[in-house]
């Protein structure tokens, strides 16, 4: 029997705000334990939550970017459960009236090669709501310690419909979501730092069946690759169970990325009764059109919209466009160079091939680069106008990468300018013809390729400065072809 897979993802994303979700204490990562706390974070007797408006702004922006319906009125609920990482023993979250309903994330599946764009699909979202993050438990041999620095950090939970068909789609979903959220400055989505976390609900069913199979929730998928590997492993496990006549039980499983295995964490019977109810400490929030419009105006162009523009209007090859749009700063950098007059395809080439390569080799980020969009535009212009040859341009690039000197300056200082002086060019051509009668003979007897030896001689005589196109014309004229 053939099986198909149905996956729904629950993605938690920490919102990048200066302070926590319900109190004015700094939010952050990597600080000494329990320093980002106050009476509210520690749930001391009498402490009360107050909403951080920046977190609501962020989720509204996310919703607008992903075409969600934004609630007119959104409310806060308490999710009650006891666990030492949760200081109040309830989490403030949104159950009945989340900020965002519906919406979709556009994804791109891998193409046949890096140069070929894969299929685009839309993954529908169920909802996005806002809640607070919990603290962190550090387990020792005989005891466990709690660090509440993370507790109360604003967290968005993005829930997809059960509409993802494969591990590749899940991977593409997370990649696309991350790109969009980073573009809009909502989160850094660094999975290593726990800024983006993913649980997957996975089920299989025989092809043709329309009812959903029993779902298994897979947790602890700590990187985008673990999401893909974990899902693949779970699909395999479920198919094994099904084909060997067993029953898949509804449960939560914990994935271990290192061993590539998962183990049951709790069964359906052990599921919590969270006793949700509206949080009486917080007022509902009314979201009106002016508020949404103000945030809409702050939204960046969506990554795939940008990719289409790069492909269609700027005629970039997919291999360049796909790299440029991955990083908003990089695509902005590229567009700055284009706005300064650079030919898009050439600028994209220099950025994607040379700049990224050299930055990676030097361990630098784009912001640290001494080569600015103006440098790129200048270099592309010199090349385009035939002032430098492509080999010379490479030399200019590596000079300006090291020093930050403007390309025209490098050309002048190093005398890299191509010669277009016809007298000088004719002199070099004549000398080359005189010095290589054999090649001249070959050309004249019907082998046009032999002209390359003469061109090489001209380049050598001119120390690389001769304009290849003009040299070609002069030689052909002299040789009568």
């Amino acid at each position: 029997m053939n099986y198909e897979t149905v996956i729904g993802l629950e993605v938690h994303v920490q919102i990048k705000t200066a302070s926590k979700m319900f109190t004015r204490v700094a939010a952050g990562y990597g600080q000494p334990e329990n320093t980002l706390t106050n009476p509210v974070v520690l749930a001391l007797p009498g402490a009360l939550p107050v909403l951080n408006k920046a977190a609501i702004d962020a989720i509204i922006k996310t919703g607008l970017m992903l075409d969600c319906q934004i609630a007119h009125v959104t409310r806060w609920d308490r999710k009650n459960y006891f666990y030492p990482d949760s200081p109040k023993n309830y989490q403030i979250t949104q159950f009945e009236q989340p900020v965002c309903l519906g919406g979709a994330v556009e994804i791109e599946l891998p193409g046949a090669s890096l140069a070929v764009m894969g299929e685009h699909k839309s993954i529908p979202l169920t909802r996005i709501h806002l809640e607070e993050d919990v603290g962190k438990l550090n387990h020792g041999l005989t005891d466990s310690l709690v660090d509440y620095n993370r507790a109360g950090t604003p967290l968005m939970e993005i829930v997809t419909d059960p509409a993802i068909k494969s591990a590749d789609e899940a991977f593409a979903f997370l990649t696309s979501l991350r790109t969009s959220l980073v573009y809009a400055g909502i989160s850094d989505c660094d999975m290593e730092k726990g800024q983006m976390r993913c649980d997957a609900n996975i089920s299989i069913r025989p092809v043709g069946e329309t009812k959903l199979g029993t779902k298994v929730e897979l947790k602890n998928l700590n990187s985008i690759s673990y999401v893909r590997d974990g899902i693949l492993t779970e699909i395999k496990r479920q198919i094994n169970v099904a084909t060997s006549g067993g029953t898949i039980t509804q449960e939560t499983r914990l994935y271990d990325g290192e061993s590539g295995r998962s183990a049951s964490m709790r069964s359906k019977e052990m599921a919590h009764d969270y006793r949700y109810f509206p949080d009486p400490d917080l007022m509902p929030v009314r979201i009106d059109e002016p508020w949404k419009n103000r945030l809409r105006a702050e939204l960046p162009e969506r990554p795939f919209v940008k990719q289409r523009r790069f492909l269609e209007l700027l005629a970039l090859p997919y291999s360049s466009a796909s790299v440029l749009i991955r990083d908003r700063a990089l695509s902005d950098y590229f567009e700055s160079a284009v706005n300064l007059g650079a030919k898009p395809t050439l600028a994209a080439n220099w950025i994607v091939n040379d700049l990224l390569r050299d930055l990676a080799a030097a361990g630098q980020s784009l912001t640290e680069s001494k080569v600015t969009p103006a440098h790129i535009a200048g270099l592309v212009a010199l090349l385009d106008q035939g002032v430098v040859s492509s080999n010379q341009a490479k030399e200019v690039f590596s000079e300006m990468f090291k020093s930050g000197e403007q390309p025209a300056g490098v050309v002048d200082r190093k005398g890299l300018r191509q010669s277009t002086d016809s007298g000088q060019l004719e002199g070099w051509c004549d000398a080359a013809i005189a010095g290589d009668p054999r090649s001249v003979e070959q050309v004249k007897s019907g082998n046009p390729k032999a002209i390359n030896a003469l061109k090489g001689a001209v380049m050598k005589l001119s120390a690389g400065k001769a304009n290849p196109k003009l040299v070609d014309e002069i030689l052909k004229k002299r040789l009568g072809i």
């Binding site: 009476p39 007797p45 009498g46 006793r275 009486p280 007022m283």
Partner: protein
């Protein structure tokens, strides 16, 4: 009015302080001496810090000497119920759970009293554990005695706040009122007690019992004193999302400005079975007073009154079950010595740390929120709550305020009511006000033949505390119940 300093009013003491006939340290010393003389019998205090209080008083005198006195409360000792946080002082909620907890921060009302008003924050006042109770017998430490009869309860849950004031161990006190916890003890101890409109006073730093019902308010010797304290603690607080954002009126000067006659409503459901005849008679006499003053008295009906108790015990316990989850023995508070892991710490610490009434309410609240019961209990209770509020608002289309007894009975004997339901019935006249979020106060309106105080409850319109207090003051000025003191 008695000549002893500790029995005088804020307005009288403020005048003496302003005239430099008295220092704040002298006043504090008098209150400390009185406290030491009576509290062994009344047991209104969980703890007090003499040195800290005298230092605050000395600071007040220094301010005054420098011409920087902050107003009528500067140098006045005000006692706080032990559910309101004071930085550096114990905060126990009269529970074993928090027996050794010291608050690292001030509640907003505490900060306002100290920093803006210059009051001397004095003592941690006994109460029912986590403010759950109507007799103060639920204190995990010791019951409070009613100063008028030490064998009787002071009411609750703010029993210590009422008893300390009635006994002269503070000049005013703060309590909290979730279902009558200020008004009922005020009535039973013969003091003025005001429960403000929900949202008027910040709850930041008040140990939460039921967040949508809790409200801090003053106990005072006169309506004017209550107005002075209310003015000092009211107002918007950015640390409490449910606090109302509007300017605070000058309650004290409004008292003199607002004059009747008023239209007063008598809710017929509040004069039904279970009302003690002596209490009923005293309230009838108060109604007669207003009538004589030219007030229009109108019978009104609050048709959902019967549902108040059920509704209250669903909503209050649901919220409490969640609010009290933080007391888990992990970060602070009682931790069981025999616990072996996290779940065990929760179970044993809470089993050992909470008293029977607190456990009863947590269990009830957990039940009504449980999956499958939520709609039938919690959701329905919220709908009834809306109807109860609507009853009051409908009545206010015809009248300015309502007059009722505060408590159906005067102070009862310690240990007399062991059935929780019998105790819950003590609150039948007060809980509707919390469900509707309204302001209400209790003022002394007489004594039983055996000498126990009786309280008159006045229920006002949302955020119309000034009006409410003016109505109460009219009665107070024509009677002298408020100037009587127990013999201790």
């Amino acid at each position: 009015m008695s000549s002893e300093l500790f029995y005088q009013t804020i307005s009288s003491l403020a005048a003496q302080l302003a005239a430099k006939k008295l220092t704040a340290v002298e006043l504090m010393q008098a209150v400390i001496a009185r406290t030491k003389a009576v509290d062994g019998r009344v047991q209104a205090f969980n703890s007090y810090d003499e040195a800290d209080a005298l230092a605050q008083a000395a600071a007040s005198d220094t301010r005054r000497a420098a011409g920087q006195a902050r107003g009528p409360l500067d140098g006045i000792p005000i006692g706080l119920k032990d559910v309101i946080a004071v930085a550096g002082q114990p905060l126990t909620a009269s529970s074993k759970m928090l027996a050794n907890f010291v608050s690292p921060y001030d509640a907003t009302v505490t900060r306002k009293l100290k920093e803006q008003a210059g009051a001397v924050v004095w003592g941690r006042l006994n109460c029912d554990e986590f403010a759950m109770g109507s007799s103060n017998e639920n204190s995990a430490f010791r019951p409070v005695s009613n100063p008028w009869d030490l064998t009787r309860v002071p009411g609750g849950s703010s029993g210590g706040s009422a008893a300390a004031l009635a006994a002269g161990a503070a000049i005013a006190t703060l309590g909290s009122d979730t279902g009558g916890s200020i008004r009922q003890p005020a009535a039973l101890c013969g003091t003025v007690g005001l429960k403000p409109t929900y949202g008027l006073i910040s709850r930041y730093g008040l140990i939460a019992f039921a967040s949508s019902l809790d409200q801090i308010g003053p106990f005072a010797r006169t309506v004017e004193d209550a107005a002075i304290v209310l003015g000092a603690i009211a107002g918007h607080d950015p640390l409490d999302s449910t606090s109302f954002n509007a300017p605070v009126p000058d309650y004290r000067s409004d008292l003199a400005a607002k004059k009747g006659p008023w239209k007063l409503g008598i809710p017929k459901e509040y004069f039904a079975e279970g009302l003690d005849p002596e209490v009923g008679a005293a309230v009838e006499a108060a109604i007669a007073y207003y009538k004589k003053q030219g007030c229009e008295i109108k019978e009104v009906s609050l048709t959902n009154t019967q549902s108040c108790l059920d509704t209250y015990y669903i909503i209050a316990t649901a919220e409490a079950s969640s609010n009290l989850a933080r007391y888990d023995g992990i970060r602070y508070g009682h931790r069981s010595k025999s616990a072996t892991d996290a779940i065990d710490i929760y179970a044993k610490s809470r089993a050992e740390g909470f008293g029977a009434e607190v456990k009863r309410r947590i269990i009830l609240g957990t039940y009504v929120l449980s999956s499958g019961y939520y709609d039938a209990y919690y959701l329905r209770a919220q709908k009834v709550r809306t109807l109860i509020r609507q009853d009051f608002l409908n009545a206010y289309k015809e009248v300015d305020a309502l007059l009722t007894p505060t408590s159906p009975i005067p102070a009862f004997k310690i240990g007399e009511k062991s059935d929780p339901l019998a105790l819950y019935l003590c609150d039948i006249y007060t809980i509707g006000v919390n469900l509707a979020g309204l302001p209400a106060m209790s003022v002394p309106c007489g004594f039983t033949k055996s000498g126990l105080p009786i309280g008159l409850q006045l229920i006002g319109q949302p955020f119309q505390e000034a009006n409410l207090m003016a109505i109460a003051r009219s009665y107070e000025q024509a009677h002298d119940w408020h100037s009587k003191h127990p013999v201790l």
